[in-house]
């Protein structure tokens, strides 16, 4: 079990590395685009496409692998003011809802993303099914993550990292 957590921690840090790399690429491509336009009067369309691709990827990648439960933006008025038993039930219901809806729609999502192979991006000529494959990665990762949360809630264990009530107590 300890080893599993260790490996998980290592993977999480690598996921963070990737997210930071995406952000750096986005920023750098943007600067290159501005510089080449203003300094050399030579616009680089590929750079702007890379920028927007990284924006899409960093958000979905981050949501899949980088965000910790405490980083999520949620409406915690009720959740923060009830006891641990009620929290467990709420977590159970919320993750069940997500699992059913994301899970049930997964084939349709797969169908859409793979359909996009008919188009290529306008500068870098990347096929859209590749550009958009991040959504599949995102959906599957979120499903696995919420399955884990659901199981923890059922067993009533491992929920400590999910505690996110009143930070002052």
């Amino acid at each position: 079990m300890d080893k599993l957590i260790k490996i998980g921690g290592w993977l999480h840090r690598r996921a963070e590395n990737v997210a930071v790399a995406m952000l750096v690429v986005m920023f750098a491509a943007f600067i290159v685009q501005i510089a080449s336009r203003y300094l050399f009067n030579l616009p680089v369309g590929g750079a702007s496409e890379l920028t927007i691709t990284m924006w899409l990827w960093v958000v979905l990648w981050g949501a899949a692998f980088v965000l910790r439960e405490t980083d999520e933006i949620r409406f915690d008025v009720v959740y923060g003011s009830v006891g641990p038993r009620a929290r467990r039930v709420m977590t159970l219901l919320a993750s069940a809802g997500l699992l059913i809806l994301y899970g049930y729609s997964l084939p349709a999502v797969w169908d859409y993303v793979t359909f996009m192979k008919v188009q290529k991006s306008s500068y870098l000529d990347i096929r859209y099914d590749w550009l958009y494959s991040i959504y599949i990665i995102f959906a599957v990762a979120v499903l696995i993550r919420y399955l884990w949360i659901f199981i923890c809630a059922v067993r009533g264990r491992g929920l400590s990292e999910l505690q996110r009530g009143d930070g002052q107590t």
Binding site: A63, D71, G80, L101, D111
Partner: protein
């Protein structure tokens, strides 16, 4: 509309999943999928709307770029120097640091186009400074940081105004200018509340910075103070567009911190980029959720229904504007700002036009409303951000934010009934409206 129709059920689902504590972005996506499923539509559309929406919203790139800029300013002590500068001038008054918080937001508004970036960047530091050694109650500091951050997008540059220009065809240049006076007014009313609270609650005064120190503090902050000049000079003087200004801001912060202040290391740069990536993701997921839910709202023809309802009243321009305020404030409690700008405001524009309301003035009114939505419970993005930063519960922050919200509502009322507040400055620059 019955309780079993897909739209009602999807709305109920959002409310329920949010209350149960699911992250808001996921709640909106999941509930949109529920709608598509019940309405017998292609569920792949959820992915389609999210992906195409994110991929075509070039303007939204300003959001992560401004976040990176703010993080780099913090990591590289630019923010600290700026805060020291603000402190040297207003710290000596009762509630000194709280006033610094107000002035800080006005100064930073000239560099940043996003309220979230202000709260997550300089706001984070203000929160730390105000609560260090128990000077101010954390919830008060968080509430003040949230409510001052709304000034960010009123004073140019401004992401919401760019989006408004997109849906209204109003001129971005004049819109930006129109925000200056209202932004200062919003700072002023908040300063008034701070002074009153300081008297009543006995907030501390900062040790006055001696007059002979002022030149040094100013010089120290000078490169940071040049940021608005670089930015707005860039936009108005002929170098960059508003989105590009965000990237320039980040680059400027990086260069100043690395080479002039020499206060940034590789590891602190990595840490601030990671933090930027987290913030970008959290906020990006909210936008993603709104993009998907937009589809549901559009399919259900909510905009045209609302438009028909509004024209049914046969209102005077002022009454219409007041009604718009009410509608946007209520929606602001429930929806995210970009969603409102992209879905609701276009519905109001034809009516406003027909009533002869100036489109630039209308834009300022709409954007101020949407910014107030960021601090109105239960759905207030800035409140969530500050919950995250301060560790205080939403409940406590909401209680402390109320006086500031009231003051800002007074400012909103003035901005609504006195178009001159918005239009005076653009007119000095040749606006004919």
């Amino acid at each position: 509309m019955s309780l079993t129709d897909p739209f009602t059920l999807s709305i109920l689902s959002i409310v329920l999943l949010c209350i149960l504590g699911l992250p808001i972005g996921h709640a909106m996506i999941a509930s949109s999928i529920l709608y598509l499923m019940l309405a017998g539509l292609d569920m792949g559309t959820a992915a389609e709307q999210l992906l195409n929406g994110m991929f075509s919203s070039y303007i939204l790139l300003a959001v992560p770029l401004f976040i990176v800029a703010a993080e780099l300013m913090n990591a590289g002590s630019m923010t600290l120097r700026l805060l020291a500068f603000c402190n040297a001038f207003v710290g000596r008054f009762p509630g000194g640091l709280a006033l610094v918080n107000v002035v800080q937001s006005i100064v930073f508004a000239g560099m940043s186009g996003s309220a979230i970036a202000d709260a997550a960047g300089a706001g984070k530091l203000m929160q730390k400074m105000m609560t260090e050694g128990g000077k101010y109650p954390p919830a008060f500091a968080a509430a003040l940081t949230a409510s001052t951050a709304v000034i960010g997008p009123i004073i140019p540059p401004s992401i919401p105004m760019v989006i408004y220009a997109l849906v209204s065809d109003a001129s971005i240049g004049f819109l930006f200018l129109a925000g200056v006076v209202p932004g200062l007014l919003m700072g002023l009313v908040q300063a008034v509340i701070v002074v009153f609270s300081a008297r009543r609650r006995n907030f501390p005064v900062e040790k006055p910075v001696p007059l002979r120190e002022l030149p040094r503090v100013t010089l120290d902050a000078f490169p940071a103070l040049m940021m608005p000049v670089v930015l707005l000079g860039g936009i108005y003087g002929g170098a960059t567009t508003p989105t590009e200004a965000a990237a320039i801001a980040a680059l400027y912060a990086l260069l100043i911190s690395a080479f002039l202040y020499r206060s940034i290391t590789l590891s602190s740069a990595y840490a601030s980029l990671l933090s930027s990536a987290r913030t970008t993701t959290s906020i990006g997921m909210l936008i993603a959720g709104a993009l998907v839910f937009n589809y549901v709202v559009t399919v259900e023809n909510i905009p045209s229904t609302l438009s028909a309802w509004l024209t049914g009243f046969d209102l005077s321009p002022l009454a219409f504007l007041l009604l718009v305020n009410a509608v946007l404030l209520i929606l602001g409690c429930l929806l995210e700002g970009t969603t409102i700008l992209l879905i609701i405001v276009p519905v109001l524009i034809p009516t406003a036009n027909a009533l002869g309301i100036d489109m630039v003035h209308f834009g300022v009114v709409c954007v101020v409303n949407i910014m107030l939505g960021l601090i109105t419970p239960p759905y207030g993005l800035l409140l969530f951000v500050m919950t995250n930063i301060s560790g205080c519960s939403l409940r406590r922050i909401v209680r402390e934010v109320l006086p500031f919200l009231m003051a800002l509502l007074v400012a909103l009322l003035l901005i609504t009934v006195l178009p001159g507040l918005s239009l005076w400055l653009p007119r000095q620059f040749g606006y004919s409206g």
